[in-house]
């Protein structure tokens, strides 16, 4: 199971020289098991902080997060995370990186390697299993990070702008790869991005987040059938949804700029 419940979350940063920064304000959301949920919002809206809180890497100032009714208390392997970059262990080969989580659990070496190989293969990197991260391109590194997270069999995958640093062609390829894997694995995914196209192409449900203080201002159901093709992005329904999200975000971006200027 992998139902994520976020209940009236607050996140405040105390500052000695300025008024407290309110990053998240009374944010609630519920992501049902196996849903591909996307949070889209302007930069600095606190969407990464939200993910950190669900991962257990950051403590909220108020409110609770739960996974299957269990309150989140620190990080755990049932909540896997894919970071934007710099998260592969540079001293481990591709295969050893993917084995990392499994090897912590004291499983047999054979089972560990078998499972890791399966996921290295699933992200199309079989011929690179002995390469070190410094020999890989940005897109390949993120494939390893995804394989590493999947191999650990988490209940929910938290993805923090994982394709944000990639060029747009590679990003498209990675989105298709991720969708293909999700269609097979059927896991809860919580994906954070500022790219509306990415949000609509990937998500079943898109949560639109406001500028600081971050809260959910719109929830969009994206009912395109799976498997999805990238041509989707030029269909009228897609463009209609995009317009709707753009409209809510537009006001928010201007608000954010005004706050920054003040």
């Amino acid at each position: 199971m992998g139902t994520v419940t976020v209940d009236s979350l607050d996140l405040r940063f105390a500052s000695r020289h300025a008024p407290d920064v309110i990053a998240l304000n009374n944010l609630s959301l519920e992501i049902p098991d196996k849903q591909f949920a996307v949070i889209v919002g302007p930069s600095g809206c606190g969407k990464s902080s939200l993910l950190d809180i669900i991962a257990g890497l950051r403590e909220p100032s108020g409110g609770v997060c739960k996974l299957d009714e269990q309150p989140v208390n620190g990080p755990g392997k049932e909540r896997g995370m894919v970071f934007q970059n710099y998260s592969l262990f540079p001293w481990l080969s591709v295969l050893k990186n993917v084995e990392f989580g499994l090897s912590l659990q004291g499983r047999s070496a054979r089972e560990t390697t078998e499972r890791a190989r399966y996921y290295v293969n699933a992200v199309g990197l079989s011929s690179f299993e002995n390469a070190y991260p410094n020999q890989l391109s940005g897109g390949m590194k993120q494939r390893v990070a995804i394989a590493r997270s999947l191999a650990n069999d988490p209940e929910v995958m938290l993805m923090d702008e994982p394709f944000g640093a990639l060029d747009s062609q590679t990003r498209t390829v990675m989105q298709q790869l991720l969708l293909g894997i999700w269609e097979k694995e059927q896991k809860t995914v919580l994906f954070v991005t500022h790219d509306i196209d990415e949000a609509l192409y990937l998500g079943e449900k898109v949560y639109v987040m406001s500028a600081r203080p971050g809260r959910i201002i719109d929830t969009v159901s994206v009912d395109f059938a799976h498997p999805r093709s990238y041509e989707l992005s030029t269909s009228p329904q897609f463009i209609e949804l995009k317009r709707r999200i753009q409209h809510s975000l537009h006001a928010e971006v201007h608000k954010a700029l005004a706050v920054a200027a003040a």
Partner: protein
């Protein structure tokens, strides 16, 4: 002619690579200028050769101490001292520095003391060390230890503090506990920085070694220099300096080689 000018013009573009041949020529030319300057000054009678010996006298002096065994004896004495002092310092400074950089509590405990001690010149403590431990092996090891340890501690701490947070977070979200994060993430992540730091501080340790040997010693390359000075053998001082430089270079290359062979993953591409 135009091609030569074009090559020179290109060579002075920042960050631009040059051909290996041009690189080698330039290095050789500079070395040749230094050596011929030395020859002109000495053979041309521009300097008093009693204090500034010509090249052949240095070579002869080198040959002499090589044959009578005093060079090997003194070089060995120096190598033993520097390696013992450096090893002792590194063995304690590596774990302590790594903890200092990643555990706020350790840094709170050590930082004030270390930052104060770090700026005390070791040389100022030599008289005290001689009073306490005498002028034997232990005193020289102590000088190297004090000179290297506090610098190393700060540098290892810095290496440890610069390990990206994402690596820790990735490990935690993969199910690692605190001990696993330290052993399987923090330690390997600091390795390249640790070797770089060892390489840099080894150079400083040579300085403290020679200082210790000049002040009070009965063996070593610094002592050899000091004895040569008393007998006005400037050529022998040159030999000692060149050997110290050479041994330092060898040590430096060893560290460089260890990093390339043992940590191929740390190369920047």
């Amino acid at each position: 002619m135009v091609a030569v000018w074009a090559a020179i013009d290109k060579a002075f573009t920042p960050r631009r690579s040059i051909s290996p041949a041009l690189g080698l020529c330039t290095s050789t030319a500079v070395a040749a200028v230094i050596i011929s300057g030395w020859c002109i000054a000495t053979y041309g009678g521009l300097v008093d050769t009693l204090f500034f010996p010509p090249p052949h006298r240095v070579v002869l002096a080198f040959w002499k101490v090589l044959l009578n065994g005093s060079l090997a004896r003194n070089a060995w004495a120096s190598l033993v001292v520097i390696n013992l002092g450096f090893l002792l310092s590194s063995v304690i400074a590596i774990p302590l520095g790594i903890m200092m950089g990643s555990f706020r509590i350790v840094s709170a405990a050590l930082e004030p003391v270390v930052n104060f001690t770090r700026y005390l010149p070791v040389t100022s403590m030599i008289p005290l060390l001689i009073l306490w431990i005498g002028i034997g092996l232990n005193e020289k090891i102590a000088v190297i230890f004090i000179g290297t340890f506090f610098q190393q501690l700060v540098m290892f701490s810095d290496v440890s503090a610069r390990v990206p947070n994402e690596l820790f977070n990735a490990a935690y979200t993969l199910g690692a506990n605190r001990r696993q994060v330290v052993m399987r993430v923090l330690l390997p992540a600091t390795l390249p920085g640790v070797i770089d730091t060892l390489r840099v501080t080894m150079g400083w340790a040579w300085t403290y070694l020679v200082v210790a040997e000049l002040v009070a010693s009965s063996s070593g390359l610094g002592y050899m220099s000091m004895q040569a000075m008393r007998g006005l053998h400037a050529d022998l001082i040159f030999v000692a300096i060149l050997v110290i430089g050479f041994l330092g270079l060898v040590m430096d290359q060893i560290f460089k080689w260890i990093k390339i062979v043992a940590l191929p993953w740390s190369r920047q591409r």
